[in-house]
């Protein structure tokens, strides 16, 4: 049964190859159906594989082919089928399929439709390799592959230079993280002699033999890799810019799947981190700071996709908080619920942008509720889910993270509550400004306003349902018992794959925390309601009452500008110096000097070539005689 897993990445790869090489001339409908159905097939196989794992099948390694054999270094290209990878498979292919279907509607009028679908398929292929790989090396193939696809899709509309810049930024910032990942992998190999997950962690547990200091170095290096891919401080700057890509890309790559690769990797290495205090606390603090930074910046942004992007940064930060505190399954739980509601929100925003003829500024929206009822309702569900209102998906996963923080570190606990409050506030600010009040766009836009086609609204509806019920896979004890359902189902499912935290809190504490979280969320929502709905404050007026703090947030803490001054400008200056002085004077001097030296010596020696045949023969004979005499 596990052997079937090979098919899962194969379908999208086949789709990519077919569309790339034979796709020309087919109708958009055919290409869209083809691309979507490959993902659907993958999803069906994933469900089959997942079911066997759910019924207690042992983790299996499925070898695809021999890959690298060099001395003691032996890596097969093989897939690891265990609870962690199968649950990732499930939501990558599931959410991926919905987003493919959505894209057929969203990109329908785009001239690069075939290219877009091909890239999406290729992305899903690499993402599946990433989570299926049975070693760091195989995972790295997927890791780089999704990076390339992300690059190509951010710069999809390559005729606008701004998009290309964003694509390059994403790629370059990710390179920094990847370097950390490579260093971590090399260290790991140097100390254990293997990079296979089952040798390191699951069965063999070679990782336990690593000395403490090295363990910290490995943990932090690997985390730097995760920082790049999952947009954590200080490598978070690429993700908001990545919104230059088409909206389905933002939903699939920059919210639901690729950016959670860092969380996957740390969860996969949980045995490495579980016994390493320092690396873990680095993760906690990087996570909570990123989370706060993202949440506060999102409060003041006016671009609908930028708000969601910073929200993603913030939610990823929360996931890392959970990872750093040893609650690996909780982080995965939040990854899954986040994939549902953030994909929903992005697709919803895409639907809004589609209806608004490309407008992304919420200052020019408003009152869309009556024009786009389905988008409005599903967006509202997503907003409630991310804000953490009982019993939507976001509530349970976020509550679990907050609960773990409560047990482990009170400061982080307070900060995570603050993040929750900000999240609820900025999401409802976005919601009210977009869907309520009066329409503030141009007449043309108002005339053109329409609900999106079925291919876009149906995925929205499915994701909305998932955003409501998705949390039930990890019900807390107190709620689960009341409702007569399994509680902590996900934790039990992931037991064999990741290290489990030893947190046992009393039922009353659990309930109390849930009440606090709900109060915080509802309070923020009410506050957003009074400002943006009741008093009808508009984003424009925000700017009038701009304080220095708001300015700071609106400009994203000037982090891009600081990087610009600290890194880009000096590099520019050095390049300028090298280009204006070293290159023309020294390097060109050496190269051209060699040329003229040869030319001049040649000029002297060519005088010997007189053209007189008898002289040549004379010299020839003299030489011959000289040689004969010297013998």
């Amino acid at each position: 049964m596990e052997k079937l897993v090979t098919l899962v990445p194969l379908f999208p790869l086949a789709g990519f190859l077919y569309i790339t090489f034979f796709g020309k001339g087919f109708s958009k409908g055919f290409i869209g159906t083809l691309a979507s159905s490959t993902i659907l097939l993958s999803f069906i196989v994933s469900v089959l594989v997942f079911t066997t794992q759910m019924h207690g099948a042992h983790p299996a390694i499925v070898k695809v082919f021999d890959w690298i054999t060099a001395g003691s270094f032996d890596i097969d290209f093989s897939f690891l089928v265990d609870p962690l990878s199968t649950i990732y498979l499930l939501f990558i292919t599931g959410v991926g399929f919905l987003i493919h279907v959505y894209s057929t509607g969203y990109m329908h009028d785009d001239e690069g439709f075939n290219r877009f679908m091909a890239y999406l398929n290729l992305f899903v292929f690499f993402m599946l390799i990433l989570v299926l790989g049975d070693s760091y090396v195989t995972m790295f193939v997927g890791w780089e592959g999704v990076g390339v696809c992300s690059f190509m899709l951010i710069g999809f509309w390559y005729k606008d230079m701004k998009n290309n810049d964003a694509a390059k930024k994403a790629f370059i910032v990710n390179r920094i993280g990847d370097l950390g990942l490579i260093i971590g992998m090399c260290l790991l190999f140097a100390y254990t002699g293997t990079l296979k997950f089952d040798d390191l962690f699951i069965g063999g547990s070679d990782a336990s033999g690593i000395p403490g200091g090295v363990g910290t170095a490995i943990g932090i290096s690997l985390f730097i890799g995760a920082m790049g891919k999952s947009a954590q401080i200080p490598l978070h700057t690429w993700l908001p810019d990545a919104m230059a890509g088409p909206t389905p890309v933002s939903a699939l790559i920059h919210a639901a799947t690729m950016v959670t690769a860092g969380i996957y990797m740390v969860a996969r290495s949980s045995e490495l981190y579980a016994y390493n205090e320092i690396a873990s606390s680095v993760i906690v603090w990087a996570g909570i700071l990123t989370s706060l930074l993202g949440a506060t910046i999102a409060l003041t942004q006016n671009d609908i996709k930028k708000v969601l992007a910073y929200s993603t940064v913030s939610q990823l930060g929360l996931m890392f908080v959970a990872l750093g505190m040893g609650a690996y399954s909780t982080a995965v739980f939040h990854v899954i619920t986040h994939a549902f509601f953030k994909a929903l929100l992005f697709l919803g925003s895409g639907s809004v942008i589609h209806g608004m003829s490309g407008e992304q500024d919420i200052r020019r929206m408003g009152g869309l509720k009556k024009f786009m009822p389905v988008t409005h309702l599903t967006f509202l569900i997503g907003t409630i889910a991310i804000s953490g209102v009982f019993p939507f998906a976001g509530f349970f996963s976020k509550d679990q993270i907050v609960a773990v923080a409560f047990e482990e570190n009170k400061i982080v606990f307070i900060l995570s509550l603050l993040v929750s409050a900000c999240t609820a506030f900025y999401m409802f600010r976005l919601y009210f400004l977009t869907f309520h009040g009066k329409f503030r766009g141009t007449h043309d836009q108002e005339h053109h306003l329409h609900e999106s086609p079925k291919s876009m609204t149906v995925p929205l509806m499915i994701l909305a349902v998932l955003s409501v019920v998705g949390g039930f896979i990890g019900l807390p004890h107190a709620v689960g018992e009341q409702m007569g359902m399994h509680w902590h189902w996900l934790d039990h499912f992931l037991e064999d794959a990741v290290v489990m935290p030893s947190i046992h809190m009393s039922l009353s504490t659990e309930v109390l925390l849930m009440v606090i979280a709900t109060i915080v969320a509802l309070g923020s929502i009410a506050y957003a309601w009074t400002i943006y709905k009741k008093r009808g404050v508009l984003a424009d007026e925000d700017k009038d009452m701009e304080s220095s703090a708001q300015k700071l947030l609106y400009n994203k803490y000037w982090i891009d500008e600081i990087y610009d001054a600290l890194i880009r400008k000096p590099v520019d200056r050095i390049s300028h110096f090298l280009g204006k002085f070293i290159e023309p004077k020294i390097i060109d001097g050496i190269v051209e000097g060699t040329g003229s030296l040869t030319k001049n010596t040649g000029g002297i020696f060519r005088m010997l070539q007189s053209g007189s045949l008898s002289l040549y023969i004379f010299v020839f004979i003299i030489g011959l005689i000289a040689i004969l005499l010297s013998l």
Binding site: Q609, S610, S612, L613, S614, I617, I621
Partner: protein, 105 residues
């Protein structure tokens, strides 16, 4: 027959070196390309003569076989060389080597 018995290999060598010397001087000092060409042939044949002489002396046929090779190569060389010379003469109406110095650099 008696007369030929007195001729030793040394005689042949002397004759050969005289012929070779003549050829070499001809190549060095004549300006007409055809004469130079004939002198080269003379040198080749001087060498052939020594080879045949030694072959007779040691009662060994290797030297004579070698001579055939040299003659074949010389014939080929003559064919090519004369063709070049003929073309030169057709175009320039001279075979004087002091005039043919235009392909220097």
């Amino acid at each position: 027959m008696q007369l030929f018995h007195n001729i030793t290999v040394n005689h042949y060598l002397v004759l050969s070196s005289v012929l070779f010397g003549l050829g070499a001087f001809g190549v060095l000092f004549r300006r007409n390309a055809i004469i130079m060409f004939m002198c080269i042939e003379l040198m080749l044949n001087a060498v052939n003569l020594t080879l045949v002489a030694f072959s007779k002396m040691w009662n060994h046929t290797d030297g004579q076989v070698f001579v055939f090779f040299i003659m074949v190569v010389a014939a080929a060389e003559v064919a090519v060389g004369l063709a070049i010379l003929m073309m030169l003469y057709r175009n320039l109406h001279t075979t004087d080597t002091t005039v043919l110095n235009k392909l220097k650099f």
